[in-house]
Subunit: 344 residues, 2 copies
């Protein structure tokens, strides 16, 4: 059903990168997490001295009928509005991608409105909104697989275009609710610990959100040992596509940078489906959403940016792109201590 | 003696930037500290919609005879070696500046070795190493002023070149010791709380370093109410030049990004000399050096990068350049909520 092979983390490439870092004309270890990042990228790519000239952000859009409970700051129609905005270049993610010299691709995997024929949109719609999971399963198992496959296909397309570094973004009003549900089920943490203000809702609404998500988990009884079951029952289309994209990138040894809370939930699904994914993902920022640290701990990957962001779209991941460039650039361009005349 | 006027933070420009951020097609406040950064940059520059097409890192190099106590991982001669390396483009800072599309200028303000005639070096040497402040004053008051003036002149030169965003870097074996002394005197925190592993020394050497710095403060009796006295007695040439560069940038409404521990000490001197500087500086990363957070708290400016770096050279500051570009780019390029059809 999900035939994908995740190659092992390349320990040899990682070790060669570490050895290189240790002889460069700087104090060993003085670049801290940036050195660990460079070593990690070497292990993912299998290249001791990787570089990332062609970057891309793929943004998956999908709706969630759980949003009809009014758990979000804005209405469901905003998903399609923002898709149009992104296609015209007017979103935050567009601005950030221009700074990072990254391509942007917008993929409809589950938007409620029919966006057929919208110029520039990659049309892969599997269903017009995930169902309200407080009343039944969000998707069928087949729909979840179809969405995962969309993500994997987008990773292969990116490789065909020559992309060397990827990030997964999302747009989907209400998608912090399925994300919280997934993270709660997979990590075993209570819903109240992982569900937060999302788009910016106040405390009483957060309480209603927690109740709604809890009801959905109790009704659907997702099986934590079967990640596809969790994804289908309490997930969503763009979450599934992001997980597929991360799996697809890793299969091709292309690093995929994980954004915030929602991308973290997708990464948790990817890791639960394929434990080898644990060493194949790169974190970016620590989101303001309280459950984000819980999922990053579950994934076991560090974050680098402390910006208090809670926007999504892949914005935090794309902000890391130039830092990744700097982290690997030193492997190519720095002199060694010996080169500059030092004996130690 | 130090005639410089720091213009007031432009509250009107900052407010206009905030109002713009609040109507953009994203949830208000969802970019967290990045929005505060954009507003801060508007207030410093006096432009509601600033942009920074021309960036530059100015690296000030100087030696410290306190290093002769063997308090550093490497010998004093490494300062000049690294200056040569930076001029040839082989340092970490060179690689990071290439990623950030930033110019690099290397200024000799106090290197021990005579580097007269070295191609590409800006020669402004005031003295060949600051004196060992455990045995007397590091500099005379006149030498400290001369170094401050070098920094101010470099800020004016950067403006003449059309630079719109600056960072101050440094190279100087042993310079965490005068930095710790300055921070201890200005903040009132004990030396043991602010002096750390610096370049990577072990615990027994840190103890010797603390004793040496403490002796220097007791001997020199720097007057915390007279920042120039502190700078001259327990500071150093490149620290003074960095402080001057920060003052010079602020006077011209050009933001100067503060790097780590050593730049933090220089910023503390700048703020002590001119309290209006408090609102004119931009932080970057949180260094691994324990005293860094103490000085950032004293300065009252946030940091954005959590990378555990302790290299200096201005590396952390330059890593923030693309993030600054992204923070202000949204002011120019994003659609508003009204533009995309939203009523709220």
């Amino acid at each position: 059903m999900l035939e994908i092979t995740i190659p092992p983390f390349d320990e040899q490439a990682a070790q060669t990168a570490q050895e290189r870092l240790d002889v460069l004309a700087k104090l060993p270890g003085s670049l801290g997490k940036l050195e660990e990042l460079a070593v990690h990228l070497a292990g993912i790519t299998g290249q001791a001295c990787p570089s990332f000239p062609h970057k891309k952000l793929v943004l998956f859009a999908g709706d969630h009928d759980i949003a009809l409970h009014g758990l979000s700051f804005t209405g469901q129609e905003v998903t399609a509005m923002q898709v149009r905005n992104f296609l015209q270049g007017g979103g935050t993610i567009n601005a950030f991608c221009r700074t990072a010299h990254a391509d942007v691709q917008i993929v409809d995997v589950g938007v409620k409105e029919d966006l057929q024929g919208l110029a520039g949109l990659t049309q892969c719609n599997v269903m017009h909104a995930a169902h309200d999971f407080s009343q039944g399963a969000a998707m069928s198992r087949e729909q979840a697989v179809a969405c995962l496959s969309v993500g994997m296909a987008m990773a292969r397309q990116a490789q065909a275009e020559g992309c060397t570094l990827l990030a997964a973004g999302e747009m989907g009003i209400g998608n912090t609710s399925p994300s919280a549900a997934i993270i709660s089920v997979l990590t075993g943490q209570p819903v109240a610990a992982v569900a937060g203000m999302g788009s910016g809702i106040a405390a009483p609404m957060i309480q209603r959100k927690v109740e709604c998500i809890t009801r959905g988990i109790e009704l659907n009884q997702p099986n934590a040992a079967d990640p596809l079951d969790v994804l289908a029952k309490v997930g969503g289309t763009e979450l599934a596509a992001m997980a597929g994209f991360m799996l697809g990138g890793a299969a091709l040894r292309i690093p995929v940078v994980v954004d915030g809370f929602i991308a973290g939930a997708a990464a948790a699904i990817a890791v639960a489906l394929q434990p080898a994914m644990r060493s194949m993902l790169i974190g970016s920022h620590c989101s303001a959403e309280p459950g984000h640290q819980i999922v990053m701990d579950y994934l076991g990957i560090p974050t680098y940016l402390d910006l208090g962001m809670r926007l999504g779209e892949g914005t935090g991941a794309v902000l890391l792109f130039p830092i990744i460039d700097s982290a690997v650039r030193i492997l190519h361009e720095m002199k060694t201590r010996k080169d500059i005349g030092l004996s130690c």
